[in-house]
Amino acid sequence: MNMQVKNSSRPLWHFHGGLHIDDHKAVSLQQPLKALSLPDILVVPLQQHIGEIPDLLVKAGDQVKKGQLIADPGSYISAALHAPTSGTVVDIAERVITHPSGLTSPCVIIQPDGKDEWFAGLPEPLDYQTCSPAELGQRIRWAGIVGLGGATFPSSVKLNPGPDKTIKTLIINGAECEPYITCDDMLMQTRAADIISGIKIVMHMLSAEECLIGVEDNKPLAIQALQQALEADADARIEVVRIPTIYPSGGEKQLIRILTGKEVPSHGLPANIGIVCHNVATIVAIDDAIKRGKPLISRIVTVTGAGIRQPGNYEVINGTPIGHLINQAGGLNADADRMILGGPMMGHTLKNEQIPLTKGANCILLTTKQEIPPTSAPVACIRCGKCAEVCPVQLLPQQLYWFAKARDLDKAQDYNLFDCIECGCCSHVCPSHIPLVQYYRYAKTEIWTKEEEKRKSDHARQRHEFRQARLERLEAEKKARLRKSKEALEKKKSAGSDDKVVDPKKAAIEAAMKRAAEKKKKLQEAGQAPANTSNLTEDQLKQIEAAEKRRKGE
């Protein structure tokens, strides 16, 4: 397990397990890289990456130019989106995307105008040596670059490991271990110089001391191209390392193990051990963004398998429907059976040719029944232990299977379910054809949902408790108010009986009554009965007199 492999200069390490499988790479390497013609319609999903959906900047009817920003990353873990060609936004609608669920997601639907005109407001190229890592990171974030190896995690986040972590080694992943896929191979052959140039930018950003480019030895042309580019550049910090072909050497943690002998801790990131790993295609996208001011709007996609007439690699713009790629590659053979996004080991079947190709789509594999026979019905586990022999993460797949099957999620987590990289080695070797990875995926998403529910219920409890407290407080305040006014009333009452405080109103009334009584007394003394005409004014008396006259008919 810790045995070293002889390489020309550098010692290499093995990871545990792994598989030697037919690579079928030659199928798609028969013809050179081709650019795809513009499709009739582009469907650009807003969510093409891990993280939050970016904020949409366009609406139906807007004219867009190639490379124009159409969605802006609102939160830190999100990615920008650019118009892949010039044209009109015809709709913002829900469409089925490349997700294994087959569910819809919001997409920007663009009708190309055929002119393919670049946006005039693209940023100027940067000289990376005079820029700070923050400025370069900002540009990479603007360009909407995500990990193109398949994980689609926003690259600007990965390139900012935090001030407390020093990065010694940059590892460039050119292993491309999954059978059939050759898009990275083609990229390394055609754009080796840009890869070296992009590496220098990233090394500058991370202040890394060395860079190792790991390429499997089944890609001699790619290795040769990279070495030539390196000779022309003469940077002693960068080294191309030929690694043995074994699946899954292209897994991030597996490649780090092969090249450095270090293990990335469970639940940890490579940055914890001073390493950052990027895919070759991501590096080229970074080079494009910095040196040419271009956003990420296209990528190389391999279309391969016995089900397609002209397998090969195509430069595909973001949002191209799969059907267009298939048509351009000569169409399907009559015996084509399954359409897989990704490779045969980790990919998932797609049902619909309308589904758009996105930043993370590296391969469309069209297989026939002879090539990949339909999966046989699973039978009982015979506890042969082959799965544990091949597991590259040294897990116990059989134990995980039992726990996932019994829905014992806590136990599955105790057996490090979340370290599983879903490489599919265990399912591949299982003599009982048990879909092991499906069980692990089920258990993982089930645990995530549980955690989310727990978080939500804690939040609801907090809100409920807050509401209870608020109602109690309001009740207490009301009571306090009532008590106060009652007390004030009682105080007043007691004050009145003591004759200490005199109410001015009461006093005025009393005084008026006194005056009236005195007047009455005076009149009685004078022998006059009190009449209501007794204290009228002159005017009023005249009016009464006039009224009397009218009454009597004078």
Binding site: H99, A377, P378, S432, Y439, T449, S457, A460, R461, H464
Partner: protein, 185 residues
Amino acid sequence: MLTAILTITLLAIVFGLILGYAAIRFHVEGDPIVDKVDSLLPQTQCGQCGYAGCRPYAEAIAEGSADINKCPPGGEITMIALSELLGKDPVPLENEEAAEKPKSVAWIVEEECIGCTLCIQACPVDAILGAAKSMHTVIESECTGCELCIPPCPVECIHMHPVKQTISNWKWPYPEKASSQEDAA
């Protein structure tokens, strides 16, 4: 004889003091079992258990006056978790129909709302926003789906909408088809 009595008495006093000190020093505020039970409940505050909310039900479970099968939103999973926590035998749910309902959130038909604030007063988690004689609306992310706002509404403008499945809340399915054949083999 006397020595023995004295020794035992002395020991009793010493241990009594230690126990007395420990009782004060390690005193536990409140009943931790209530918190544990409460943390397992789904916090919808719906009252379907017959208690005024999740915490009162948790208190009733802790003191043994309520069964563990009265929580329909929690379903069988919650019941089993409670049985494991309390060492009780799992029992079938009291209201199984209610437990099988899909997770829903309240939805106010805004054109019909008369702004009476009755639903706002009924909501246990303050998830309804609005003022007197103004339209009300439900903050979807805060709604627990307890349905307590539905009976007070005088114009019946509140409906329950099942939570839509999206890419972010989608789960890989349990490999059902496979399992039956594996078991048969």
